[in-house]
Amino acid sequence: MSYYGRKFAFYLVALWAAVTLNFFIPRLLPGNPVDILMAKLQQRGGSVDPSVRRTYELLLGSDSDESLWSQYLSYWNNMAHGDLGISVSAFPAKVSDVIAQSLPWTIVLVGIATLISFALGVALGIVVGWRRGSWLDSLVPATTVLAAVPYFWLALILVALFSSALHWFPLLGGYDVRLSPGWSWEFISSAAYYGVLPALTIVISSIGGWLLGMRNMMVSTASEDYILTAQAKGLRPGRIMMRYAARNAVLPSVAGFAISLGFVVSGAIVTEQVFSYPGIGSKLLQAVQNNDYALMQGIFLVITVAVLGANLIVDLLYGVIDPRTRARR
């Protein structure tokens, strides 16, 4: 099987595992979510028609005699149609609509922050790793403090410093509420302004990992023979650093994207909570607080699919950057 074929197959398996996990979690854990949801729905004046109950039962498990296998098949059928049930906390909106509304916020925030942090971290790692033994090495322990700082705590500190004390940035929210969301210049600039602190939180907390990984690979690469050869040829040091050492050293950082992205997304969820950012993380917690199980599961599924998708893209790119991976081992 080709490299790309194997990658696609792997992510299909991962997707299947995530959906199946989502199917079994509510069925294996204690509690009776369907009844809680139905009661909540009634409080909100929702019609308790059997089809709604049926959707919930497929999502969360039922007491009926229906076999697990046929529940599982119907569940997949619903997933394939994008039917994730009705949200109780945002009644009468559908879960898929709630997600569609908040997902762009998180994707833009996490996407931009991850790109900045990756680029900066790798660039710093190249320099620090190349000039090993100089004063730059003392930067390395400093980054471990950053990596060990909890995202949400850093967010609290930034808010206390830049919003409460200095009033440079807004305390919370994703945009000026007086503006209506749209593609106007005003709205976008307001969203960017509100996004600075959340993005800064993510960048500061995740940059250490990139820096350290890149630094270590640079150190290993610097002792390779071809670097020595390049130096003996009298090439410019800058050229050796970028074209010879960094190009080879960056590969594991790209390949390790999967691990990092999971951490960043997890951190972003908690960060959003601190800033009351209108993204998917805040929605997830709102769903948790309101026992909105359908929304909760939908969001988990969407987050997982997004992370899998991002990793698939990176893996495909990796095949382009490093031809060795395409060759069958």
Binding site: A18, L29, T144, P150, W153, I157, S164, A165, V288, Q289
Partner: protein, 323 residues
């Protein structure tokens, strides 16, 4: 901190003094088996061990010294100083006393999850790597899938389904261990793959040793540095994740950890009231403890990958002269 304690040994032994680049002579001296596994003494290691030991002692001994962390007083939100070392919360509880108990709680979770996650990763990584074939394929597929599924959202969903009354510390620890072992398992598998093809392992197999003996006697000792480093990572991961979970109000019920402290601080509007002494210390303890563990990990990494050791000044100087 079982896996870390052996590395305290070089500290008590003033073998070389705290010079960053150990003298070449000392390095060339043949080192005995156990000495080779222990990290080399360096300022990084010293600072790391100092931080970890200080915080661990604070967590172990602190609760015996401080007063009742839950005692409510009518001195709400007093800044640090006077009778309260770190000030008081909104309801007049002593922040320092809370910090001591919370540190203990967080360390317990970290240790518990660290042990469980390392055991899981060893099980899947070492056995998969050693046995090879279909078992390896299945194990590594499984750990790769676990790796790409984002952990915290999964933990949040699981915790949310379990009613608060049944959400114990053990349950949280097990869930965190299940979501946190996969990355280590990949590292261990890669190391095992390279070890199993060495001549001495082949020799012991040819000599008719049973597989479990080959793994535990020939391979496992060589994996100890890797295991130690993965354990340290698992502890950091666990403390951070637990803090995040508790901060969201989804942690174990009746537990007091650094995360729950931050949860109460956030819900008590510590931020808006500018009561920095309430929310700064818990996060600082987490950050410093994590930093200490990472510094220890640097020293362990230098055993695994000798290329990372700080090179002697002479060569570094010649390189920068060339640059």
């Amino acid at each position: 901190m079982t896996n870390i304690s052996p590395s305290t040994e070089p500290v008590s032994e003033p073998r070389q003094g705290p010079v960053p680049a150990a003298p070449e002579a000392a390095r060339r001296r043949p080192v005995s088996g156990w000495r080779a596994i222990l990290p080399r003494w360096s300022p990084k290691l010293g600072v790391g061990l100092g931080l970890v030991t200080a915080i661990a002692l604070f967590g172990i001994l602190g609760p015996m010294v401080v007063g009742d962390p839950a005692a409510i007083n009518n001195v709400g939100l007093t800044p640090p100083g006077g009778g309260h070392l770190l000030g008081t919360t909104q309801t007049g509880q002593d922040v320092f006393a809370q910090l001591a108990y919370a540190t203990r709680g967080s360390l317990q979770v970290g240790l518990l999850v660290g042990v469980m996650a390392t055991a899981l990763s060893a099980l899947f990584g070492i056995i998969g790597g050693y046995v090879g074939g279909a078992v390896d394929e299945v194990f590594s597929l499984f750990s790769n899938v676990m790796l790409v599924i984002p952990g915290l959202p999964l933990v949040i969903v699981i915790s949310a389904f379990v009613p608060a009354a049944q959400r114990g510390a053990w349950m949280i620890a097990i869930v965190l261990a299940i979501t946190g072992w996969a990355a280590s398992s990949r590292v261990l598998r890669a190391q095992t793959l390279s070890l199993r093809n060495r001549d001495y392992v082949a020799a012991s197999r040819v000599a008719g040793e049973k597989p479990w003996r080959v793994v535990s006697v020939e391979i496992l000792p060589n994996l100890l540095p890797v295991l130690a480093s993965q354990f340290v990572f698992a502890v950091i991961f666990a403390i951070l994740s637990e803090a995040g979970l508790s901060f969201l109000g989804l942690g174990a019920s009746n537990s007091s950890t650094l995360g729950t402290m931050l949860y109460y601080a956030q819900n008590g509007f510590a931020l808006q009231l500018e009561a920095w002494w309430w929310f700064v210390p818990p996060g600082a303890v987490i950050a410093l403890f994590g930093c200490g563990l990472s510094l220890i990990n640097f020293s362990i990494d230098e055993i695994i990958n000798p290329k990372l050791r700080t090179e002697p000044r002479k060569r570094a100087a010649s390189r920068s002269a060339a640059a």
